[in-house]
């Protein structure tokens, strides 16, 4: 290749480079314009910015309000849940009291009444060892007429306590219930025939006719619950009335039979 043709080739190459550079500069210029125009188009007006800011503030405020309302409702819901548990418990207690009262007045048979009192003390209160004592008004002595738990409290079936003597004698004299309030397990060694866990007088108005002494609760029961005290109050009054009425009824039945036999005898002999 001659020197001349080399120079021409170089010139040609140089011209192409020049054209390409010019084209790049033009494109650059065009893009700058485009960018500038886009920036102008996209920039929001100050009033729009203000409107959006106020909307954000409003939404934030609303969000806060909703959050507060949610917390309040959540709290209310917790209250309702607690109230529901309370009502369930009250419902349970009322059912126990209703059934106990219904059963106590369902019969006039003395043995059946005593059996019902025992069922209530075992099944509803949860006692394993207990005694029902009646006051003999002639001797002023409290004597066991029914009991459970001879194996855990020996001689429970033959308790005899004078009115005014010891815890139970005092309960019968004053008509005030006696309870050991401390932890029952810790005190179990202190429980004896004349010092029960609980002693509940059986009262007709202020007149004590006997008492229920509880010595041991069932294994699964740690302590007396609120409904137990309600049941004790119910037993104090209703069991006393039921026992007293059934006793009177039995006595009147016996007297009636005697009179009837006597009348029969008179009729036959005449």
């Amino acid at each position: 290749m001659t020197e001349e043709s080399k120079a021409e080739k170089f010139l040609e190459l140089f011209n192409k480079g020049k054209e390409f550079t010019e084209e790049l500069l033009r494109e650059n210029q065009r893009l700058r314009y485009r960018l500038a125009s886009l920036e102008t188009e996209q920039k929001p007006a100050p009033e729009e910015v203000e409107r959006l800011r106020s909307q954000i503030a409003q939404l934030t405020e609303e969000n806060k309000r909703i959050h507060e309302r949610f917390s309040a409702i959540e709290e209310e819901n917790k209250d309702f849940a607690n109230r529901y548990i309370e009502i369930e418990e009250q419902n349970n207690n009322l059912a126990n009291l209703y059934v106990a009262s219904y059963q106590l007045h369902s019969t006039l048979d003395f043995r059946e009444v005593i059996q019902i009192v025992q069922e209530i003390v075992i099944n509803l209160i949860g006692a394993e060892a207990f005694a029902i004592l009646l006051l003999d008004e002639k001797t002023n002595e409290l004597k066991t007429i029914a009991s459970e738990g001879e194996d855990v409290m020996p001689n429970i079936d033959s308790i005899s306590i004078r009115l005014g003597d010891g815890v139970m004698g005092q309960v019968a004299r004053t008509g005030e219930s006696y309870y050991i309030n401390q932890d029952i397990d810790a005190d179990s060694s202190e429980i004896s025939i004349d010092k029960p866990l609980a002693a509940v007088p059986l009262k007709i108005k202020e007149h004590v006719i006997g008492l229920i002494a509880i010595y041991k609760l069932l294994q699964q029961k740690d302590s007396f619950s609120a409904v137990d005290y309600e049941l004790f109050s119910l037993l104090a009054a209703h069991a006393a009335t039921a026992i007293f009425s059934s006793k009177l009824y039995s006595q009147s039945e016996r007297k009636l039979n005697t009179i009837q036999s006597f009348l029969d005898l008179l009729t036959t002999s005449s």
Binding site: N92, A100, Y102, I122, N123, L218, Q219
Partner: protein
Amino acid sequence: MENANFLVVEDSPTMRQLISFSLKRFKNAKIIEAVDGVDALKKLSGPDKIDLILTDINMPVMDGLKLVSLVRQNAQLKNIPIIIITTEGAEEDRERGLALGANAYISKPIQSSHLIKTISELLAV
């Protein structure tokens, strides 16, 4: 669970009434009562299809554990859920009851809400 038939096996009228009282929470529940295991078996062979049995353990004539065992051996009755309700609260008593085939074991004194929850779970309502 609606229209369920419950068999309450208890020798104590007080407990029968208390359990029946709780079962009234189930709409249109029919409560059939039996005083011991033998009476329960008679009721189970009666016209009412029993959906769940609630039984005590200590009963005269036939106790609750024997009843559970016999029900589980009977082809027609073996799938009926059984809840034992008893004063026997020792762990070994619970294990014995469940081993014989009872589905749940509740110690007395019962809490109505606990009983309802247990029944609902067993009947998947």
